[in-house]
């Protein structure tokens, strides 16, 4: 059997895993670290917030193995381009890495990304040398505009963040996958391993999962399930999955059991 070589390449860097894991909502840092290991993810997202001066906490990055995983700071909490740019510069200073998941979500109720502010921020950050991975609604026109301005990927949402609704934006994501020359990472709303497999079967280059793993009864077990689902979906896509047809198509010979001509053959 030949070796399966199918790497994700983002901004010239190769990854064997196509599952990106978010680090929010885990019951403990320890559990988060275990789930990341189990997922075999090579990219993990983290967020920046003010230090809680009344309750000092450890630096959560200490539990993340930075030799095997690339930290991808996000700009969550940014409500406009200026806040996102400020968070990006802080993240770069803190980590020394220039990779950034750009997200601008002005409305805390639906957390849908602001397309105009996201594009504005991306234009500035790309010029400053950031590797920008923008989180967007599944808008093919916006995806193209971001690609043109130098985004390293596009990250369209499957459904609202944390909603576990799966691929509600399937048709638009299909267009984005078809047109994109940068990797398409389906992000947000993938609550079940089957959702992740679904996105990968469509031809997504990677998926980002957080809530689906972190809030499972057994986050480590769910991390493994997502890992397998992403691999299965990817292999399905690469093997040339055939889409649905309108009529039945027998997978057994259409002759009758004793050799009679079947009704279909007489037509």
């Amino acid at each position: 059997m030949s070796v399966w070589i199918d790497k994700l390449v983002v901004a010239g860097r190769e990854f064997e895993s196509r599952l990106i894991v978010g680090t929010g909502k885990f019951a403990s840092n320890q559990l988060m670290a275990e789930a990341i290991r189990a997922s075999c993810a090579e990219i993990v997202t983290v967020a920046l917030r003010r230090v809680d001066i009344e309750n000092d906490q450890d630096d959560m990055l200490r539990v993340i193995d930075r030799d095997s995983t690339l930290l991808l700071p996000n700009t969550s909490g940014a409500r406009d381009a200026e806040e996102a740019i400020r968070l990006a510069r802080l993240a770069r200073a803190a980590t020394g890495i220039e990779w950034l998941k750009l997200e601008v979500t002005p409305n805390p109720y639906h957390l849908l990304p602001d397309p105009i502010e996201t594009l504005r921020a991306a234009e500035v950050l790309v010029k400053e040398g950031f590797v920008v991975l923008p989180y967007i609604n599944a808008d093919p026109v916006l995806a193209r505009r971001l690609e043109e301005c130098g985004a390293a990927t596009v990250m369209p949402l499957a459904s609202p963040i944390g909603s576990n609704q799966g691929l509600k934006t399937r048709d638009a994501i299909g267009i984005i996958i078809e047109q994109s020359t940068v990797p398409v990472v389906v992000d947000a709303g993938l609550g079940l391993p089957s959702h992740a497999a679904d996105a990968m079967e469509m031809g997504a280059d990677a998926v980002l999962v957080n809530t689906g793993i972190a809030t499972a009864e057994d986050p480590v077990g769910m991390a493994v399930a997502f890992k397998l689902a992403v691999e299965a979906g990817r292999r399905g896509f690469c093997a040339g999955a055939q889409g649905p047809g309108q009529n039945a198509a027998a997978s057994s010979p259409l002759t009758g059991f004793l050799g009679e001509t079947s009704p279909a053959d007489t037509n």
Partner: protein, 93 residues
């Protein structure tokens, strides 16, 4: 027994804040430093006991890496943001 000296509150005796009291606005909250503001960012995080979490800071909007905390002096009236990493995927935390 000599009672401990009470800090003089704003407006007490109609004096307003004592002009000698130095302050910093740390993470949006004004803090008073009767003995003067800490000499450096490193001294500030030590005083506030947040050395483990604070990985990067802003002083009057200028980004300061943790490695430079010790060399970054502070002055009365500055705005300091102390920032840490938290778990995050896409959601607010």
């Amino acid at each position: 027994m000599i009672p401990e000296e009470e800090p003089i509150e704003n407006g007490k005796f109609g004096m307003g804040r004592l002009s000698t009291m130095q302050t910093l606005t740390v993470n949006g909250q004004e803090r008073e430093f009767p003995d003067g503001v800490p000499g450096s960012l490193e001294d500030l995080v030590l005083q506030l006991k947040v050395t483990a979490a604070a990985v990067v800071a802003e002083v009057d909007g200028v980004v300061v890496n943790q490695d430079a905390f010790a060399q970054t002096g502070l002055r009365d009236g500055q705005r300091v943001e102390l920032i840490r990493f938290v778990g995050g995927g896409s959601e607010h935390t």
